[in-house]
Symmetry: C2
Subunit: 253 residues, 2 copies
């Protein structure tokens, strides 16, 4: 059964891209065929696999501008069982170009549905806003994973996201479920961080993953070396946390 | 002489809002009259002063939708000599609504110019993208401050921003100067961070501020308490760094 998971949070720099890369790589290492889809015109996911978002062609831009393409038209193999549907910087203007089209929110859903059984997991990376690209991700997916930075005020950003999810469920994607809220960038040395995680647990209850992603430079250095954490430092606490997350995600359904 | 400074970097979570708040508060403590302008529909700047971006009315949305308003119509006093022009969450849809207007990139410039001599410094906070709201900020300003997180890959984001600045100078705001690049979230315990700062110095040379903003929980906790760093922990390293930045900025012109 193929699972399509969108990773979203309109707040910037909370670990969306890092989660797509490393949850994806961990799921692949467990034997799953995984596709990572980049819906961010800044293309950090794309660049972390050594592809240039200024030059890569074709890209998710084409899936947005057309009505009959599938992931297969643009996908590239990154690792064993790990594939990437890359973004191009033109994605930003593509968003404006399709504003008047009646099916503008369903472009990615169509492209992913047309790629039927090639993948066990499709993970979608989204930009830090609630614009049309993020909506395409929310409409294309069955499950939503929300990374939340473990610091004060991080939770205030979740509310507008959940309101968008509510609207999207009402109007266009009734099947969208909250897979879970993932605490990220947890600083073991900080008293505040533990307090924040306790607060998150009270608010999100069983919707919060057991896994907490720790802050660890390896997570920032790996993409600079075009590596996933599994390549770069598989025994680091952060790599092992993403492996535990992959097991939690696998067991969720 | 009034100075209008836009703080921009399309990468998420690099310290734009934290810089606008604390550079602004520091400039005010040095005796300047300061206006902080929120152009982010997520309204983190607005919320950090205890205003609710879901309810605040009027807001920068009105400055975008009209052609004859000024900051004075929406500004609120936050502290001595420190004022805020708040954002409303409707700013996101306002961006789409004005897409067809010929002067859509100059709305904020008009509103700020019409507020003539009330302020010594106007600091503009922008969202993590290069859309119309950020462009309004770049067109309204005379100076650009780019906060850059001190980690690998942080610099790859500066290029598309500088390309936009180039285009904007060519077409619509020839007066826009790069005030400086500000290294943020510097982790004293990290060898990588020092290497990254050296790299940034090579690339940006005299365009890099001498001030480096250190990573310090106080910066994340203060806004949760609706406080600036000057209120909350004026002797913390990060508060003192923002004071040094305020002196560097004051002496730049
Ligand atoms: N666990 C971690 N420990 C340390 N650094 C991290 C961790 N996770 C992510 N980072 C770093 O923090 C920065 C932000 O992370 P990331 O790019 O994944 O967030 P994002 O939500 O995708 O950001 P954006 O909103 O800009 O797309 C990145 O430079 C990344 O390398
Ligand atoms: N020097 C610092 N030390 C520790 N935490 C910091 C520091 N500066 C900012 N932060 C925290 O990091 C997060 C991101 O900072 P901030 O909101 O200022 O970035 P931003 O670039 O405005 O983000 P966005 O792109 O989402 O608008 C915030 O929660 C903030 O509290
Ligand atoms: Mg990202
Ligand atoms: Mg901000």
């Amino acid at each position: 059964m193929r699972r399509v998971i969108v990773v979203a949070n309109q707040k910037g720099g909370v670990g969306k891209t890092t989660t797509v890369i490393n949850l994806g790589a961990s799921l692949a290492s467990l034997g799953n065929r995984v596709a990572l889809v980049d819906l961010d015109s800044q293309g950090a996911l794309t660049a972390s696999f050594g592809l240039d978002p200024y030059k890569i062609n074709p890209s998710t831009t084409h899936l947005l501008l057309n009505n009959n393409l599938s992931l297969a038209h643009i996908i590239k193999r990154a690792r064993t069982r790990l594939h990437i549907a890359p973004a191009n910087s033109e994605l930003l203007s593509a968003e404006y170009r399709i504003l008047k089209q009646p099916n503008r929110t369903e472009k990615m859903r169509g492209a992913i549905e047309r790629s039927k059984n090639e993948f066990d997991f499709v993970l979608i990376d989204t930009p830090p806003n609630l614009g049309l690209l993020t909506v395409n991700g929310l409409v294309a997916a069955d499950e939503l994973l929300i990374p939340v930075k473990t610091e004060y005020l991080a939770m205030r950003g979740v509310r507008p996201l959940l309101e968008s999810v509510w609207l999207i469920r009402e109007r266009i994607n009734p099947g969208l479920k909250l897979l879970g809220v993932l605490p990220t960038m947890f600083n073991n040395n900080s008293v505040n961080a533990s307090t924040v995680v306790k607060e998150m647990k009270k608010v999100f209850k069983n919707k919060m993953f057991h896994t907490v992603i720790p802050i660890d430079e390896a997570a920032a250095v790996a993409p600079a070396a075009r590596q996933t954490l599994i390549d770069y430092k598989p025994n680091s606490p952060v790599a092992r946390a993403y492996m535990r997350l992959a097991e939690e995600v696998s067991n969720a359904y």
